[in-house]
Amino acid sequence: MRGLVRYVAHLPAVTGRRLVIALPLIWLAVFFFLPLVETLQVSFTTPRRGIPPYAPLWGFGDDGFFTNFTTGNYALLLQYWSDYFGPALNSIKLAFFSTLVCLAFAYPMAWWIARSTEKWRTILLVMVMLPFWTSSLLRLYALIGLLNPNGFINAAGLWLGLIDAPMQMMQTDFSIYIGMVLTYLPLMILPLYAVMVRLDADLLAAAADLGASGPEIFRTIILPLTIPGIVAGSLLVFIPAVGEFVIPALLGGPDQLMMGKVLWTEFFRNRDWPVASAIAILLLAILTVPIIYARYQDGRVTATDRSERPVEAK
């Protein structure tokens, strides 16, 4: 260890600096950027039987340069409009309402945490973070045990005489929304908490002294000051929710088609990799606007308050 320290310590500073930048840059270029380029390529090639199940987009054969370029995969998406764009719209719809549901729960929760005493704040924050560190797959699995026709809620409801017959909760929009809340709620709470905890309590007291009612204080002070948290949290929930696969696969029925599930089926069951790639490109195209907006927001926040330490989130 000491020898290593001494060796590294005598490397020229410039070499070290270049290495620190180049290593991650090259890794990410090869294992993140190139794969996206490859996906774009495959989305324009023709499927075939064999391994891999698609023809190379271009190359050099016996007759020189050849290409298998086709826009057929995208044409297929357009032709079977309802099979592909239907799930795409459904993904956006489910992700949008999931974001709203998360916001409806997260806003009061974050407010509650931010207004608690310091001791309770730590406890509640740990309670928010704890599910975040545990497997979301296992937590979704636990939810199935709760929502199943013979699951805990129905059994308890029947036993208490609240319901006469088991309710159908699984394989509905309801189960998907609950699954989304279960998975993404912490991502909504943390940015909201970060803006709420900085909100000056004197402002609220002053407004109340001057005769403002509760709803008025909320509308004129609390809401405007927490907009950055609302935007940040909504993007953190909406973006992954659109591409979500596990939740519709486990909790949704055959009717709850989302893009992630359609891509998965095309890839694993139909083994049509070019069409799966075209769906991936479509998904990215849909997400481009929110992703770029999220980066812009992120840049703005770090530019304005560099000194503020972000909440320990992922």
């Binding site: 979301s136 636990a142 709760l146 199943n148 279960l182 973006i239 992954p240 591409g243 980066r295």
Partner: protein, 270 residues
């Protein structure tokens, strides 16, 4: 504002309920003797016993552990590099490229990352013969790739707070930059490095979607196995497995935050 507070408290409590009720019910039923999930037929540890005899689950657990340890270690080293470049190097030439490429994986849908990585591995194999097939190594590469971006975020936050005066003092006394980094900076940011490693480890250990694409025969991770079992219905063995895993994480998280609180409390007087 009394009515408001009531609404806030009840919605908040419902939110915590959604987060915790499934876990609590599952933990209780993992001690259920019967196979049916909703019928309580006496307390028993038999599902824990059969978990220990399930070689398939245990070997998948081992595979996941191996992958997560390697992926988290690679991710942390590269994540530290990214963080240092952003916080310390000012406006270097490739800054924009690095910041774009290091933040895109944070928001990329998993299913796109998984598919595109697989396509890359396949075309690399046909070009250079490496990686030969897919297995543990390709999953490690894939997990390290998105893990390093999360690790970089965690380390960056700590590095920004760093008191540069210590490093400047060391430099004045003649220490070289790499020596300063290893003997001063690294020990100071150690808690963030540990946090980054744990985050990358958790992300790798829990990942289902990306691993499903880039895994090969014989490299089934725990999430892949659990997913295939869960699709066939609720199995009590998974209740026991999930209970063990969630309790381990809970003890670790609560323990870590307790230690952190103690340290903060010890530091606060000055």
């Amino acid at each position: 504002m009394g009515r408001m507070n009531g609404l806030v408290l009840s919605l908040g409590a419902l939110g915590f309920g959604i987060l915790y009720l499934p876990i609590i019910v599952m933990i209780i039923y993992s001690f259920n003797a019967g196979k049916l999930v909703s019928v309580w037929s006496g307390a028993s540890l038999k599902w824990y016993a059969s978990l220990l005899e399930n070689d398939q689950l245990l070997s998948a657990f081992g595979t996941s552990l191996l992958i997560a340890i390697w992926a988290a270690t690679i991710a942390t080293v590269f994540g530290i590099c990214i963080a240092i470049a952003f916080v310390r190097f000012g406006n270097f030439r490739s800054r924009l490229a690095l910041s774009a490429i290091a933040s895109a994986p944070l928001v990329m849908p998993e299913i796109v990352t998984g598919l595109s990585m697989l396509l890359l591995f396949i075309s690399m194999e046909s070009l250079f013969g490496w990686p030969a097939g897919r297995g543990v190594d390709t999953i490690i590469i894939a997990h390290a790739t998105f893990g390093m971006c999360f690790a970089a975020v965690v380390v960056q936050a700590r590095l920004r707070d760093f008191d540069m005066a210590i490093e400047e003092a060391a430099a004045d006394l003649g220490a070289t930059q790499p020596f300063i980094f290893l003997s001063i900076t690294l020990p100071v940011i150690a808690p963030a490095v540990v946090a980054a490693w744990l985050l990358a480890f958790t992300l790798s250990f829990d990942d289902l979607v990306i691993a499903s694409f880039v895994s090969g025969p014989g490299s089934s991770t725990l999430p892949i196995l659990v997913f295939s079992k869960v699709r066939l219905g609720v199995t009590p063995e998974i209740n026991a497995l999930a209970t063990v895993m969630i309790l381990v994480v809970a003890v670790a998280v609560i323990g870590a935050s307790w230690v952190l609180r103690r340290r903060l409390a010890a530091r606060s007087p000055d």
